[in-house]
Symmetry: C2
Subunit: 127 residues, 2 copies
Amino acid sequence: MTAVTIQCCAPIAREPLSEADAAELATLLKAVADPVRLRLLSMIGSHPGGEACVCDLTGVFDLTAPTISHHLKVLRTAGLIDGERRGTWVYYRIIPEAVNKLGVLFAPLAAPAKAQNGPVDVELLNA
Amino acid sequence: MTAVTIQCCAPIAREPLSEADAAELATLLKAVADPVRLRLLSMIGSHPGGEACVCDLTGVFDLTAPTISHHLKVLRTAGLIDGERRGTWVYYRIIPEAVNKLGVLFAPLAAPAKAQNGPVDVELLNA
DNA sequence: GAGCTGTTTAGATAAGTTTCTATTCAGGAG
DNA sequence: CTCCTGAATAGAAACTTATCTAAACAGCTC
């Protein structure tokens, strides 16, 4: 069991985001800001074993296979998922570090907007 | 000090999002998936007193006032901020409940994608 | 190798977004 | 009341995105 410390950006209400951080986070957010991609991400992440075959994903939507493939590519390009071909099928899995960047960004502040606490360390346990 | 319990949707990797939840969350995410709006949100949220005047926000960007006004409207329409006119100036503040929905969505799971824990309660302290 | 199934790429079209300029609305000062 | 400043609305132009059909690529089976 390894402990990973994430330290990308402070929560959104703690201090003003720099232009560069905002650009990086916006890229990540644009990738998830779509109902199809949100569902794909949650279907992949919650699938037993932590990975899902494209064939598990296409049937659920009223969309053609190329469209699903396009959305998967957007998620992969953003660094949110990773895909691997094993024989006939391609399997995708979530990259937790990318999701955690967003978790930190929107983490609730105990004290409201006073910005006087220390830096944020989100400890995440990898099995 | 009041304790508010947020229970919109499970974290993204816990269970597949419903079509309706995905649509609602995507609306919220589209609003924040822009570098300017991310910075506006963080500038408003981290401003002393928890609110910021539009006049505090326009000077920071190389954008015209109507463009900033447009971005603020997008954030307000999504329910992420609220604005109030007091005399000459208009003041905006963050609506924490909306931000917390995203915090829960991207909250890290201690156990990786096994989906066998109880429901998630994020406790947030309002002053 | 030939043919089949699963997945991705290419190219086109329709819809949505970001930004601007010009104008209008809201409130305070002379 | 008239003028001035802060903020929002309206409309237009440039750009990006979502989706499709058609075609290509990857690997299995016979």
